[in-house]
């Protein structure tokens, strides 16, 4: 979509279907090897974007750039309409990193990990409130892992760990959920139930999704056969969910739990 049209639409419908992520001519290279070259893409509110690409296509690099872990060498990123360098509301973004990025022997319970989703700039120098603790229980309940709260994170199966990290991302009631290969390394059955959970959230809640995957079948089954846009080795599959009750931000955890 061109820049002007996007701007026009966001002006027409203030508060709804605004631009969530905008990438303008992003380029990135390491040691003269180009990883991303001139990537431009816009993700709007309630889009479900599947980012597909072979190994080394720069999927993870692009995600890490969006969440501010690395800076683009060229081009600009804006989040919720704000240039990412000035963006402050990181609690609106839930990030589920690749599995196995953590030390499996780390002494931390599921509850401690899920609560850590709240520890952002806004919680600096503040204690956890009763409300925070009950949010944690809600998040555990929404993902049906309330029985695992006191277990050590490393003692869980891959699919359970993935649910823990999703719960950690959801505890802030995010408007944007970024998932890096959430389906890799877990068995097919668990993959399907996890993907089902994500689809369900997309259909019923005001969340925008950006998911990196190399599982073409599962992505295509929900997002359609053809990518909306291709940029080098990256393909963007998009499905928009607009036939929703309302566009207001409801508390995701509470409604998820009610539905569950």
């Amino acid at each position: 979509m061109s820049m002007n049209a996007g701007l026009l639409q966001s002006q027409q419908q203030p508060g709804c279907h605004q631009e969530i992520i905008r990438l303008d001519n992003i380029s990135f290279s390491v040691d003269s090897q180009t990883i991303l070259s001139d990537v431009s893409f816009t993700i709007k509110e309630r889009d479900f974007v599947g980012l597909i690409g072979s190994n080394g296509a720069g999927k993870t690099t692009l995600l890490r750039m969006i969440v501010g872990l690395i800076r683009p060498q060229q081009g600009a990123i804006s989040l919720f309409g704000i240039p990412s360098g000035q963006f402050k509301d990181w609690n609106h973004i839930g990030y589920v990193p690749q599995r196995n990025h953590f030390n499996p022997l780390f002494p931390a319970t599921v509850r401690e990990v899920v609560l850590s989703g709240l520890y952002g700039r806004k919680k600096l120098f503040k204690r956890l409130s009763k409300e925070d603790v009950s949010r944690c229980e809600d998040a555990l309940g929404a993902l049906k892992i309330q029985d695992l709260g006191d277990k050590r994170i490393g003692a869980l199966s891959g699919g359970q760990q993935q649910r823990v990290f999703l719960a950690r991302a959801l505890i802030n009631n995010p408007k944007l959920l970024i998932l890096d290969e959430p389906l890799s390394g877990i068995d097919i059955e668990t993959q399907q139930s996890f993907f089902h959970l994500i689809k369900h959230m997309h259909q019923r809640h005001n969340i925008t999704f950006l998911m990196v995957s190399h599982d073409m079948d599962m992505v295509r089954s929900y997002l359609g056969q053809e990518p909306k846009e291709k940029c080098g080795k990256l393909s963007f599959y998009v499905r928009h969910s607009h036939d929703l009750e309302d566009c207001d931000g409801t508390d995701l955890l509470h409604s998820l739990r009610k539905e569950g």
């Binding site: 890490r64 872990l69 002494p107 850590s116 952002g120 956890l128």
Partner: protein, 267 residues
């Protein structure tokens, strides 16, 4: 048993009890961030600072502290240069520290440099300045860790997630480096540069085999540290043993018992 009531011994107990809180606590963070050997490195660099302090006639522990802080920054810079080889930066700075220390010690041959008291510790010679420094370090470390305990947990568990949630990760890394340097330079006189790393890492090693939650791990390192230091000093006092060595051997004993205990529990 006279030794137990002697003033120098009581000073040793107080100093030891304070260090046994902070060193294992900082050690837990270091071990979990795969920087277990940083203690050894900073201790050796700190020794170079102590030697310089003697040479220029400045309070040696303070110069050691400055050296340790500089070294911890250098390690952080190297760690970023060789991302996946964290241990490389540690090896480089450690040998640099030993080289500098040996140079400064030989330069100071004319002075009365008591090298072994800093290499193996001399907890019985703590004076009131030393105790004040240790107490100050303990207060600073405990305050900073307690205020930021949530953030330090996230930073240690998942540095990327900490950055994504908008935490000032750089500031926290610098804080951890400085706190580590503080603890190490304060503990050198107690257990000695050669043994500092035991007080940092062995309580963490025990606690990692025993704890399920982070909270448990934090409590356990301090309990284990206190038990080993107080019992070690007491045994050393009664049987006239080297205090630093006794503490470290006790720690290793506790580690052996806790590993054995978890294996029996699993079997």
């Amino acid at each position: 048993m006279d030794i137990l009531t002697a003033e120098f011994f009581q000073r040793a107990l107080i100093g030891g009890a304070l260090i046994a809180v902070t060193a294992p606590l900082m050690g837990l963070f270091l071990v979990l961030r795969r920087l277990a050997m940083i203690g050894d490195t900073l201790a050796h660099v700190s020794i170079a600072g102590v030697a310089l302090g003697f040479l220029i006639n400045v309070y040696p522990v303070a110069v050691g502290l400055v050296f340790a802080i500089l070294a911890s920054f250098a390690i952080e810079v190297l760690r970023r240069t060789y991302r996946t080889y964290a241990e490389l930066s540690i090896a480089i700075i450690m040998s640099g520290g030993i080289a500098l220390a040996s140079l400064l010690f030989t330069m100071g041959k004319g002075f009365n440099l008591n090298v072994s008291s800093y290499l193996f510790g001399s907890i019985y010679t703590l004076d009131s300045t030393d105790l004040a420094v240790i107490a100050g370090v303990t207060v600073i470390v405990l305050t900073m860790v307690l205020i930021n305990k949530k953030e330090l947990f996230l930073l240690t568990f998942d540095e990327d997630a900490a950055a994504v949630s908008g935490l000032p990760v750089k500031y926290f890394n610098i804080m951890l480096s400085i706190l580590t340097a503080l603890v190490i330079s304060a503990s050198i006189k107690i257990v000695g540069a050669l043994l500092v790393s035991a007080l940092l890492t062995i309580p963490a090693a025990c606690s990692l085999t025993l704890s399920r939650s982070f909270k448990q791990a934090v409590i356990l390192v301090v309990v284990i540290g206190e038990a080993a230091v107080l019992a070690g000093l007491w045994m050393a006092g009664i049987w006239n043993l080297a205090p630093g060595g006794t503490i470290v051997l006790l720690l290793i004993g506790i580690l052996a018992v806790s590993i054995l205990g978890t294996q029996i529990r699993r079997a």
